[in-house]
Structures are given as structure tokens and as C-alpha cells.
Symmetry: C2
Subunit: 205 residues, 2 copies
Amino acid sequence: MVNLVQTKRLQKYRMALLRFKKMGLKKTFSHSLSEETSVSAVLIRKDFSQCGIRGKRRGGYDIDLLLGELKKIFGHEKEQNIIIVGLGNIGSALVKYEDYRQSNMNMVAAFDIDPAKRTRRYPVPVYSLENLREVIDTFDVSVAILAVPEFSAQETSRYLVENGIRGILNFAPVLLKVPDHVLVNNVNVMIELERLMYHIGVIQD
Amino acid sequence: MVNLVQTKRLQKYRMALLRFKKMGLKKTFSHSLSEETSVSAVLIRKDFSQCGIRGKRRGGYDIDLLLGELKKIFGHEKEQNIIIVGLGNIGSALVKYEDYRQSNMNMVAAFDIDPAKRTRRYPVPVYSLENLREVIDTFDVSVAILAVPEFSAQETSRYLVENGIRGILNFAPVLLKVPDHVLVNNVNVMIELERLMYHIGVIQD
DNA sequence: AATAAAATGTGAAAACTGTAACAATAAAAT
DNA sequence: ATTTTATTGTTACAGTTTTCACATTTTATT
């Protein structure tokens, strides 16, 4: 229904709307959202229009209505269980995140090869990868955060997919090879920094 | 010279090339890179062509030559100093990263309002934000990683910009408002997870 | 030497994305 | 009640990005 580019924008709108709501506002206008998100007002109206969201001419858009529609689109209505694999620096930080609940996500388990990590020091139970299938089946998990070291990322991702994972948020600096039905989102700090540097023109001067 | 879309692809090529090189390969072909990066072979050739990188007809591309050109484009030749602001969960994890050196980046300092964080437990000195200007001037820093809590992100970013930062890698779930000459790259785990879920169609079934 | 095969490089077409202009409508002002 | 104003919604257009088709070059084969 909506493609990747639009999805990204809708998520921006949602963030802005949540902020507006927190400020006590009830309705908003394409221009206000434009200022907040740096997306042109026309494009915002077009996106809404295409999603079947209607405003009132001269009256703007109802914030709760918009958030409701976005909720439908992104399926926040249904709780989604997720897992995390790898409790190194990044993994440990991510497992302690508390924002998951806000998006109706539920971190149900963590996995690490190091038995020393399998303690109660984390907010979720920590297992060996041997228990992966069991956890996935029990909690109907389809999305995993992958935060293992570079050298084991490809193999681990294969194992995840083998056991039913269809979406991977990958923090390892590796281009994972996965079957067509699996989706990977890469988060790579180095690459983001590099691009930032390139674009602010640090390079030239 | 190259735009954002192309930059992202070039970074992908670079990752693939580094992998090929590690495997001992000397030359490669647009098709091999295509398989590795999921970018079409024609597009890869076009990107290279536009960057003034030439291959040999039937002979493919020389890996070292390609990496050299990419190095020039991304300015890895010159060392870039960066700082990190906020030593919470994520910040602490990022400051311990060791991959910065690979891209010729140098993490020179961290900042946190909590004096308890200002110990020697971190691989770089930790300061109060009062010392920001001093550090920025001394080390000629133009890029910062922002990993403070949501509520203080906007204010902190304003302060960073005021003191000369021109690029921000923002881990706070906030759409920062910054002047035109400043670039922000957002890294938002929730948003990435949501998009992943949306696109694998977890929602529908 | 001639031919075939495997690559690159590129101009034109297609697909996609965003913008501009403006009609339609609702609210506010007179 | 009428006019003005502000805002949405949409159609046509412009720009950007990707793909297609194929010419060109190099290497390998016969």
C-alpha cells in the first residue's frame, strides 16, 4: 500500500504528531507538519490523501485521527515480540532500552554464546542459541535485532532465518546475504558518520 | 559531486570491496558487486563511470584502484576527530567502539552532565559540556554523536551547533531543528524496527 | 587470423518521486 | 448574507533515478 520512501515519511509525521499531541494540540495543518519534518506541505497532503486520510478544508487535520490511521498502517495495535542476539556493547545497551513498549513491541529474550552473559542482570532472560527455535515458536517472533561481532554475523543471520526469522535489524558492519523473503535493515554507525562527514564537506576544506 | 543516494551505494560497494580484498581477490566485476550489494550491475557501472572510475572491458575493475578512488571521495585520507555527547546506555556502548580507526576517525572526547561519569573508566576523557568549545577548538571537531535523553536532545543540539558542530549523528528519538548549514543523521532503533515489521507484513497476517 | 565470448560504457526510454498551479471547500470577517 | 481568507485535494508537469538495449573493447578460443 505504501512504499519505503513513504513509510519513512509517515514515521516522521508520526513523531511530529506525537510531539504536537504532547503539547496539548488537537489539530494540525500540512504547513505545521512541514516545518517540523522538513517535508513539503504538498507532499504531506498527498501522502495522507493516498493513505485515505482526509482533513477538513481550512480546518486542517485532526491529530488523534491521524495518529489512529498511522497506528492502523503500522500495526501498532497488535503486540509484536522481538528478540536480540548478541550482548556485546551495543546489544547490552539495546536490551536495556525501554522504548519498545511505546511502539507495542515486546522484547522477550536475548541470546549470547557466552554462558557468563546468561545471568539475571538483564531485563529479559538470556539463552544459548540452541533455544532459539523454542523461543521463536513460543512467542511467535519474526523480527530479531542482530548485534553480534562482524565475523559471526553472516552465520548467525543464516541460523536466525533457518529458524523462522523474517526481519533482521543488523548492527554488524556486514552486508548480510539472506533469502528473498527476509528483510534486513542495517544500522552502521561508521557508515553514518562517514556520510555525515562527506556531506558537510569536511573533506574539501 | 555525488548525491545522497549515490553516496549510500558507494559505501555499500566499499564494504563489498573490502570483503573481496580480505578474501585475496585482486579484481572484480559489476556482476559480482551486484550480487554482494543487491544493486543492479548497470547502476554500479554508471556510478563508477560518473565518479571517473574506469574498468577494463572484459577485464573488470581493479579492487585496489576502486578502494583508492573511494578513499579519495570519502576523505579517509585525512583524520577526522569526533566527540560523543551523552554516556547513557547507547553512548557508553558507542564510546567503546573500536572501529573508528578503520575509517580514519578519532574519538577525542566524551561529554556528560553527570559528574559520576567523568572518570577514567572510558577510553577517552569525559568532560562537562562547559568544556565543549575548548575541545572543539583544540581538536578541530565538526561532527558529534548525540546520545542524550529525548528531553534534552533539542537543547543540546542547539548548544553543539552554537559551538561549531556542523554534523550530528542523532540517536535521540527527536526530529532536531537545526540551521541550514548543519546536517543531522538520525539513528532510531524503534523506527527501524517498525519499518521492518511493516514491510515483512507482520501486520497483515 | 578470425571468430566468439565476456565484460564495460552510454544514450534513450521507463519508472518513480516531488513540485506547481489551481480548483474546491470550509471558516472567518464584514 | 456576502465576501474574503485559509486550507485541503488533485491534476498536470518537471525532475530524478533506474533500467533497457546495444555499441565498444578486450580476452580467449579455434
